[in-house]
Assembly symmetry: D2
């Protein structure tokens, strides 16, 4: 399994390289009857588009999506939805210097070892452009989740040492700041921090956070297909992510059980909630009705404008100087990818959950 | 998919509850010709056995494994290997107090919500005993990996605030200390720390680390089936794990690219290595030939001996007092589970990698 | 994938060899809340038991099933159901003559080629005893289908040239005649035919038919996962089946469209039916609400009591004489296997179908 | 799983409707290093193109394929290969008469029931045009198999009552006669037979046969993933196929074991063959080194030019008269689809087989 598919019932298959003719995704298993237009998808793709601020690469990428199948008279038909984005602004000559050498922090060496050769124009399949398919499919998943009363939102939690203060969270900022930080003050500080890195020809890392509200309890499975296990895979499958946390994450390792356990509480209306949410909305791999909290830590962009030691294909030690246009940080553009992967994971788990009880199956087919 | 299977070619299916008749695993896709006896598997199961020290629960669990199929004249036949462990010391009455209430930090509430009712004797399917199948299967994966020159080893990296010092690492201690810490000094400190928690009827968390040596470059896939994505899923699917890191993990989010990039280097013998290994052995989802480094953070055992607020099945707010025998920490027994899940993940990725090049396929079938 | 699992949501994994310690199955994804006891399963296993008449092998096989997990207080819990059948009457010495030679019509040669060696005691994994797991799991699927108002029944349609006459169909005979023929006259003729074959030390083939009543329209998928495609796979995965038909099967190849098309018809109550059912209940891979009709053609038992030319492991041309106890025909015992595989296929397709419409998903989670 | 994907390691995902913008396929898991150009694929697509003779529909379909990804400098890179065919000659108004009624023998009714509505322009997703993606992917599989010395070829075995005589088989005719019959005499007779049917506005069925030469012994799995089970699924997943046979197929049900068993024989060079091949090259689900023989029976095209009784969406009994351009027989164009599905199945089984022996795994990674 070359691994370009994700999901079991709501299943996506992405394809395309940074400098090929096009990129895209096939969504198989999308329920029939969803109103869907290209604008629904474009809105999400635009969030990962570069060139929107000084923070991101200066390349111009239009990334206009075309729906090729699976939608008839404005509604999904239940058959595969094929989405296509043509590559328009990729200039191959920019990358000729790296054709025969292995850039540190990139997948050049591992691709050559695995496949015998590689598409050396940019990152090829391991480019950030690979995520176009994920985002296009995620836009559809998000639209379905909205219909179910579920809201998924990701944002930048930290850029280098600059962290947001959750008490200053403003939803409007989440989609409008160039850093994707929902905190005006942190956004300013982060821009300064990034400007310094850029001046040195260096790059920086950061942290993304994704919240899911409205997810009912009971979603996920108890062993290998734990909801948190799949959320971790989804996040870690995004290039440059090196750590994933659920709820309070690594902090719990230093806590006592008496601090970390979330007490259940029954409200006046009879509904069960938890007094705290250290668990991040998942117990035993299954959603508990609280907010899902997932965090992903991203490494600094490996493409930097400083000379670096490395090896070429002839296995000679050399020094390289990367040119071209690269983001000094991946995080602000990766946030929507994280949101989309989370949405797909949650939606697929909800679909898989439908026959968990015999009663559900019986009600479904008897009525 | 109820999610009790893991892996694609080397595929395991576990089953069993804490207080059922037995637990076990079916390994499908194990290559034919491996010498295998019950003692190979028992050795791993014994590492997760409780009652070996004051740190772990005082229950006596024999957990003797029986090979029911797939082995003929001492060698695997290529057909499914069924492994069985009878439950012998589970006493159901110990758990009668929790039948109708939702223990904080446990999966009682989420199971009831998902399935309509639950096996309330102990953790049922979400008990730590579920991992018996994983460990039994992992023992087989480890034996195969050894044949391929690959060594997987996990140990306790931290218990609460007590961390090991890698410079004091002693392999002999890894399998012999009650904390599974490979550092004598940290082991001592951790025991003190645990003794204090136990006195208060409280529990603590910790951190596990797993290293894989000898893995060739080129293993893993570039998009959704990244090796690190699958390692993250494998780790996060272990109950109580709340965070996973690859290589330097969350630390990279505060680094610059110039610090974080690992320079490639060509040794005198022509082999390519990296001068540092911040990446933890994986670039672009594919192994780079360096040591794999995976870390998993574990929450404190939710069963504590202090009164806790919670809710019962009738949705009344109540206070409970958990009784019975519970580990004050899960980590020392979970380490072998982590090792086994990592081994299965790596082995499966190696099998899936075989037809990646046309040359490989051609050589395989032409010769 | 060594291929011992079947199904996507209702997923079974079988294991065991003819002469190993035991055989069994793990059912993962069974909905919670089904009343289930060993007797529900035993009833189906008894239908494939040999020694019930002169037609079947004289071996005594008890095949008593034990439920090891997944059932609590008489109901399924939603977690994996592990079913075990110990091998009690297998006598290995019976088979010593065939250890080093390749029996015609058996899988000895192909197993040795694929795996390098084989469990030479009986058929090993390719023995008819492998189907114990399928039948045990199928019993559970059938019980669920009954709850949904769906009835699956298979029977012997032909033994050699002796065919049943559908107009003489008697349901009571289906489960009681030694031939599994639901037609008293055909049963008598078939017994005579079999007696003759047995006298010559020869064996015969036959045909099985399976009908599914009560299946709603809309089950199955339009492309690769067509319901008929999966029913064909299910049937052909039973050892010795060499042909599969849906509805009128191969006869349609000689028909004109005007004869073969089934006209739709709307009854007085507004329900849509078809005036004929040449299609066997499936159009475009999806059930159409009519009776499902599947047929499977079975080759004569390869074990015969006549000298046969073959080759041994040293690649010498030899003559062999098979001894031991073998059915002169497989069909009467395979009928329940066919029924069970059909039931599992249909149930799994029904589970997968649940989120096909957005409305269904919305109703499920909104109410 | 909406079921638009097929294969495990060599995995294809098709998409597109008869009257949408385009159709296509994503091939994931194609080994790196295969020389591949659009002409390799076009050659196969042209074999399913209509309008090449009086026998097939008079529509003009260009079906020009475009490679969008996965090929760099003329060779496959190991990443997904996306293939696109734009729909150019589909005229929607031709189909306006069928928008609200259920054509007999078509999937109109089942689609409406499953999905709530359907793309009523032509067959939508259940159109024969859906097979464009299968053929495009199959062309790649065939090219790889050729490199491994394996040859897959399908042809028309019968049209209505007109059967080919294998003794008159001419390979040149297989790809050149309008019937796809490799026998000049049968081709002539079949054309006459078809002309008569066409005159009456009727349609006819037929039989396709596929042979695989050069496949080594040992490919396939012993239980659910039997090679023959997967070949049956592959064939039955082609629209209009109602029966599948392996080797002598349904004939074996009337044979004695002494006739039907294929004797093994060791040739002078030490190689093992069989003296006959009733089994069609598969024993116990695993290839035995003989020629694979698969047969598929196809129903007459449901679109006929005679008035037919049926039901409309308002559940009224009506009479319809289908117009438009339709093949009087599907078989000659379906032959290449059958060939392609067989090739994909065989190639995928070969890839999955690679780690069957520990020795193979060890040799692969040790050398």
């Amino acid at each position: 399994m070359a691994g370009s598919s994700y999901g079991t019932i709501f299943r996506i298959t992405t394809w395309g390289e940074s400098h090929g003719k096009a990129l895209g995704v096939v969504i198989d298993g999308c329920p029939a009857g969803l109103e869907l237009g290209e604008e629904d998808i474009q809105r999400y793709l635009d969030r990962r588009k570069p060139g929107t601020s000084a923070l991101t690469t200066q390349r111009k990428e239009d990334d206009a999506v075309e729906i090729l199948s699976g939608v008839f008279e404005g509604r999904t038909t239940g058959t595969p939805i094929s989405l296509l984005v043509r590559n328009t602004s990729q200039i191959s000559k920019d990358y000729s210097d790296i054709a025969s050498c292995y850039r540190p922090g990139h997948a050049d060496y591992t691709f050559d070892t695995k496949y015998g050769f590689r598409d050396y124009r940019g990152g090829g399949r391991s480019s950030g452009r690979e995520t176009i398919g994920r985002v296009a499919a995620g836009a559809v998943a998000c639209k379905i989740l909205e219909r179910l009363g579920i809201r998924v939102r990701a944002y930048t939690r930290a850029i280098g040492p600059v962290e947001i203060d959750p008490s200053r969270y403003e939803e409007a900022l989440r989609l409008s700041t160039p850093t994707a930080m929902p905190d005006a003050e942190a956004n300013e500080k982060a821009r300064d921090y990034l400007a310094q890195a850029r001046e040195k020809g260096d790059s920086v890392g950061g942290c993304m956070e994704c919240l899911v509200d409205g997810l009912p309890a009971g979603i996920g499975d108890p062993v290998f297909e734990k909801l948190d296990a799949n959320l971790a895979k989804a996040a870690m499958s995004i290039g440059a992510v090196k750590a994933v946390e659920i709820g309070d994450g690594s902090l719990v390792s230093r806590r006592c059980g008496s601090e970390n356990n979330d007490a259940f509480f029954c409200a006046a209306d009879g509904s069960v909630t938890k007094l705290t949410n250290h668990a991040g909305g998942i117990l035993g791999g299954i959603s508990d009705g609280s907010q899902l909290v997932v965090r992903a830590y991203v490494k600094p962009t490996p493409s930097i404008y400083q000379p670096q030691k490395t090896v070429n294909q002839s296995h000679e030690n050399i020094e390289i100087q990367i040119r071209g246009r690269h983001d000094p940080i991946i995080v602000p553009r990766a946030v929507v990818v994280f949101e989309c992967m989370t949405a797909i994971t949650v939606l697929d788990a909800m679909m898989l959950n439908m026959p968990a009880k015999l009663d559900s199956l019986e009600n479904f087919y008897r009525n």
